[in-house]
């Protein structure tokens, strides 16, 4: 495990995390941004980087959220928010859209998470609480479908419990599928060498290791 190669004195906010993710997406990539926090990443992609957004409900070349009279309820993203199309967009049906994901054609997928394990297991679809209504959507397909799966999340729960864990306790979404974890306190690369701390924010690396039990 090598040391962090960048650090800032302050913990990052959501926008700060989204900026880091956006900066790590290579120009020209095909990218799926999951529902919720990951959609913020779109705001920080350079317009000339040529990143093309996929939405699993059947579109490549998704544009920004629709405003006012742009709203068309036949043109929505996976979160069911009305969006726009960009030049060079295309529409396709659900089996083709998920074949695109599951066949490994997306370069990057950015997802939220309840927990990520040190070896890249992802838990982001179900809290497992009794009475909770299960709903998976495209989460499991996205988890296994992209060449790189990036997770964006706070590093700790509101109760202060780490969400980057030796082993997930929540129901799994996918096994060994996450390659990077972007959080308010640091950025982590997961893979064959275990957890590598790439950046720290508002915490010293030894303290971060202690907190996570690394």
């Amino acid at each position: 495990m090598s040391g962090a190669n960048r650090r800032t004195p302050g913990r990052l906010d959501r926008a700060g995390i989204a900026k880091l993710v956006a900066a790590d997406i290579p120009p020209g990539s095909y990218v799926n941004l999951g529902i919720g926090q990951p959609t913020l990443v779109a705001d920080y992609l350079a317009p000339d980087a040529g990143v093309i957004l996929h939405t699993e409900n059947g579109m490549l070349g998704m544009g920004r959220a629709a405003q006012d009279d742009e709203v068309d309820h036949d043109l929505i993203n996976a979160g069911k928010v009305p969006v726009t199309e960009t030049p060079g967009a295309s529409y396709f049906h659900h089996a083709d859209s998920f074949a695109m994901m599951r066949g490994g054609h997306l370069d990057v997928c950015v997802l939220g998470a309840f927990q990520v394990s040190f070896d890249g297991d992802l838990a982001n679809w179900h809290t497992g609480k009794p009475g909770a209504i299960p709903a998976v959507g495209g989460a499991m397909d996205l988890a296994i479908g992209a060449k790189q799966v990036y997770v964006m999340m706070t590093l700790f729960t509101e109760a202060g419990v780490p969400k980057l864990v030796p082993s997930c306790t929540y129901p799994l979404t996918g096994l060994r599928c996450v390659s990077r974890v972007y959080t308010d306190y640091g950025v982590f690369a997961l893979g064959g060498n275990g957890v590598e701390i790439r950046e720290t924010h508002g915490i010293e690396e030894p303290d971060l290791r202690d907190e996570l039990g690394l």
Partner: protein, 231 residues
């Protein structure tokens, strides 16, 4: 052969109690509300519904659920901000739920339409949704065996049909329509307009008429905006 129907009621005639009904749409986009309303009037009950979601607000699929016509629903994302009808039925034990990853739902429907007996699928391996299912390692990767989902009836929404039943769709409202059309014994499409054979460019037909049994024009369909968000 495709029949052009005069009304949505005629288009859903003959759907019987206990039928498995594939219902197009992703949330409200592509949801065939007029056909669902006709199915409600038709009276068929004890239905199994296969659809991405479990209804929004109080109209369309949600109204069918509220009327107690649905015994079981197979979907990827039942819980949405405006899925209160389903939520209440589920919590009170009055509806069965099978949650299926969205890509498996699409691929299982395609398999039904394509004559595939079963397929080894990369999604869901090692998760609770694969529990009890066969798995197999192929070229070093693990897969789960998934089976087709066949429908007795598919209710879908498209933009335009020609008189032979060829369909084109509109933007992301296309979603499950084309695969569901292939997976049911009886496929019914509601469209904005029905035009002459030859009016659609053969290069741009998305669903060939061979998959479409009945078409009905609903020139001013209900537009159900989402009351919340989900997936």
């Amino acid at each position: 052969m495709t029949t052009i129907c005069e009304s949505a009621d005629e288009a859903v005639a003959g759907v019987t109690d206990g039928a498995t009904v594939l219902v197009g749409g992703f949330g409200t986009a592509g949801q065939p509300v007029e056909l669902i309303d006709a199915l409600l009037r038709n009276g068929a009950t004890d239905l199994t519904i296969v659809s991405n979601n479990a209804g929004n607000g109080s109209h369309g699929l949600a109204a069918l659920l509220a009327a107690g016509r649905v015994r079981r629903i197979v979907c990827s994302f039942p819980r949405q901000k405006d899925s209160y009808v389903f939520d209440e039925l589920y919590r009170s034990g009055r509806i069965e739920l099978e949650v299926v990853p969205q890509g498996n739902l699409a691929e299982r429907l395609r398999a039904a339409g394509a004559g595939i007996g079963a397929f080894y699928c990369p999604t869901g391996v090692g998760t609770p949704l694969a529990e009890g299912k066969e798995t197999r390692t192929i070229d070093g990767r693990d897969y789960v065996l998934e089976f087709p989902i066949h429908g007795d009836v598919a209710l879908i929404k498209a933009r335009q049909a020609d008189a032979l039943g060829n369909l084109v769709y509109r933007k992301t409202a296309r979603n499950f329509g084309p695969v569901m059309a292939t997976a049911a014994k009886l496929t019914v499409a509601q469209v904005l307009s029905v035009t002459e054979p030859g009016s659609l460019d053969p290069e741009v037909v998305v669903t060939p008429g061979i998959f479409v049994d009945r078409v009905v024009a609903c020139p001013s369909p209900a537009v159900l905006a989402e009351e919340g968000a989900g997936a």
